[in-house]
Symmetry: C2
Subunit: 317 residues, 2 copies
């Protein structure tokens, strides 16, 4: 099942089922928003299947990118992991941080009241903040009771999304040093158009990981194409970590952190900061600048057969 | 204006105006929830004043504590400061942290999808986590545009609340050390019954600070009565800090952090951890234990004339 949310001027938009090609949609109607679907996943399934059957019969309206909001345009909770250890290792070596000595998943609570749509411009105050993208995958869960273990957490993973976690690199280390995590350094994220059920990924969904290549273009130039399968913790483990001392509200979004692979020399990276870290390690200084106003980032999650599962293109300014 | 939210089985409850004594209420009706009021503060004023006039004329139903939810039972955003420098200094000395070298406000993003009501029991998994309370004041803002300065931020502070920021002290330092801030260590907070407009505090609202004594009783024994006026940054400065790189969604709650005073030897503290820090500094070891299941915490914000502005009593278990 492939879901999208269409803009209608309201904060939550309109939940729609999309055909396999992402070319046509049908509004679900009975389940008005993705949040309402997450609130009672099982109750909403009949309506989704009905819409899907109509799409299969050739019904539906053409889907145009300007109408597409983030699948969840606002969420009650956004918890972002940092589950790719290559990324953490590179950042630590390059920037001379103390190693983060932990065998637990890394996770911060981010702003969730707004997720930009896949073609929305991103308003940011100044390039002095060191504007960067972070390509990642994420999951959306239904209600997860406090204390749920990782095996049970897997059943609560209802949808997979692709996220651009915009980051401000001049502020991030200042906030990180306080131990309080990031506020100013982490403005609203963007989401790719489609939220898909795990079965849509086929073989690419394994052990709570999305084994998709995340192809990223910066102003039309290929920047990286790292694979989402290399997470040190699966999404189910991130969900269980988050639920240790709280119920996770239905519609909680959990992120993987910047996709990063051991063979970064071959596949590239998913954020500028990691490339600068690699440059520092190799040459003693970074040479890739951060983003300028007007720059555009395209991110595409691709299965082994080359089919696109998620795609977004945002420009800042 | 004194506002409360009444439980009706829905997640957002029913917005009500309460009389001065906190004894009677009238449902606002036209403005169904506090979130809807925050979404358009000015548009809601006429309905609030009408309810207030009816209360003044002796109308209204008796208000009983079991019906009272948190003023905002869930919010799109909760950002908690740590604006009392005495608290930070004590914690740093006692626990041998590196000093947090910053002239910026300290702030983390916390879970906002649930605020417990003033008499709700608090479900937590185990006392092994070191269960602690944190008494603080907070404000609720309407929509704050990105880049709003502190002077302008003052105008967006519509309501003042009192919060118990439940904290798990066995986890907090582990998470803090990662630099990612707190997730597991900060479960849902509780809120005292009434959200009041700044004018309700009279002289006690000065320079963006709530100069109220926060009397805290732990199982009926006075624990502390520190004053909220000693913030190193006023709430307007915390709001401006939060809004540097994002619009603050209407209904964002901003917290002061644990209320703490220089004369802590006289007035006591607002969390157990600070008392343990004082014990460590004085005697080399803490002696006050953290909370046990069944323990109850009462917090009352009191003006100079002794009148109560905020009060809550929660038990854990």
């Amino acid at each position: 099942m492939k879901l999208a949310t269409l803009k209608d001027g309201s904060p939550d938009g309109v939940l729609s089922v999309v055909d396999q090609a992402g070319a046509r949609f049908i509004e679900v109607g009975e389940v008005p928003t993705l949040q309402s679907l997450m609130d009672d996943w099982n109750a909403g399934q009949a309506a989704l299947r009905k819409a899907q059957a109509r799409l299969a019969a050739g019904e539906g309206e053409p889907l145009t990118s300007d109408r597409i909001a983030a699948p969840l345009p606002r969420a009650w909770q956004w918890l972002d992991g940092s589950a790719f250890s290559t990324h953490g290792d590179l950042m630590q070596v390059a920037f001379g941080h103390d190693p983060i000595e932990t065998d637990r998943p890394l996770m911060y609570q981010g702003m969730s009241d707004r997720f930009f749509g896949p073609t929305d411009d991103i308003p940011l105050p100044t390039t002095d903040h060191g504007i960067d993208f972070e390509g990642e995958f994420g999951v959306i869960v239904d209600h997860v009771p406090m204390g749920t273990n990782a095996a049970d957490a897997m059943k609560h993973i209802r949808l997979i999304v692709q996220i651009n976690d915009w980051s401000l690199r001049a502020i991030a280390p200042v906030e990180m040093k306080t131990g309080f995590g990031w506020v100013q350094a982490k403005p609203a994220c963007s989401m790719a158009p489609f939220a898909v059920t795990p079965d849509e990924l086929g073989d690419a969904w394994q052990n709570g990981r999305a084994h998709l290549d995340l192809a990223i273009d910066w102003n039309g130039n290929r920047f990286g194409s790292a694979n989402g399968g290399e997470m040190a913790f699966g999404f189910h483990e991130l969900v269980a970590h988050a639920a240790l001392t709280r119920d996770l509200v239905a519609g909680t979004v959990i992120g993987s952190g910047t996709v990063s692979n051991r063979n970064y020399a071959d596949v590239g990276s998913s954020c500028i900061s990691e490339v600068r870290a690699i440059e520092i390690i190799a040459h003693g200084a970074p040479k890739t600048p951060f983003m300028a106003f007007g720059d555009c980032i395209r991110m595409v999650g691709r299965a082994k057969d080359g089919s696109e599962r998620h795609c977004q293109m945002n420009c800042i300014g």
